[in-house]
Amino acid sequence: MNRKWEDIEIGEVTGRVDFIVTTEMADEYIAAVGMPSSHTAALNTSAGRLVPVDMVCKLSMRELFTKFTVGQLGPNLRAKQTYRFIRPILVGTRVSAIGRITDKYEKRGKSYLTLHATFVDESGQSLVVDERVVILLSGDVKIKG
């Protein structure tokens, strides 16, 4: 941890990703989530093999957000998650995204960051929007569960 809460700026870039989606990524993601074979079958289309809808967000979160938040501010947990799925993603698609802080606020003594990334393909078409709110785990934050 090397940043103070008050020094974090809205609009600040938290990370970047740029990679090509592979069959291996999809297979590993499906296995990790424990999706049944019927789900895999549903992703095989005449246009090619689609990947699970949230896969690129999951595979990117460490580079886009977590390295920054944990490295700069310490441990945190997700409080809210929003996804907007705009276009299905085929194996072989090159995706890129830039993570940014879009809001920061304090509520009932707890500190929250809103993080945003829009994934696009090589032609710049939007694929999926990922917006999440994380709560920083300072000493007085109690975790339910």
Binding site: E28, V33, K58, R62, Q81, R132, I143, K144, G145
Partner: protein, 131 residues
């Protein structure tokens, strides 16, 4: 007729696999989680949302992949070796999606842990590509 529930038991091994190369995480390392003041490894929020998305895709297929959205809050953490039930209950009405010109259906979505406590709650919606 849509499927409204999905049952899944989540083991530490699955959580570690979901985390991939990120071994130094509260989602994969119980000792690290304890050192952070959390009782043990907790299931990553993205892992839980993936289960809701799986259920939405099972119900609405490409309509969700090409025009779905979801917004959820995490109410309580889920620990390793807990069983969860994912719910997606569609509303009675469909609305016309202005940008796609297709029907859109909204669902209340939530996840309960094995104690019956709601741990994730929110809404999701999908385009309906064929009636």
């Amino acid at each position: 007729m849509s499927i409204t529930t999905l049952h899944r038991h989540i083991t530490l091994e699955q959580m570690q696999r979901f985390m991939g190369e990120a071994k130094d995480s509260i989602h994969s390392d119980p000792e690290l989680a304890k050192s952070w003041g959390i009782g043990g490894a907790v299931v990553q929020g993205g892992h839980l949302v993936a289960l809701i998305n799986e259920l939405m895709v099972a119900n609405y297929g490409t309509g969700y992949l090409a025009g779905g959205d979801i917004s959820v809050s995490f109410l309580k953490t889920v620990r390793a070796d807990d069983s969860v039930v994912v719910h997606a209950v569609p509303s009675d009405k469909q609305e016309r999606d202005g940008s796609h010109g297709l029907p859109r259906i909204s669902c209340d979505v939530w996840i309960e842990n094995s104690a019956g406590e709601k741990v994730v709650s929110g809404v999701a919606s999908s385009l309906i590509l064929s009636q």
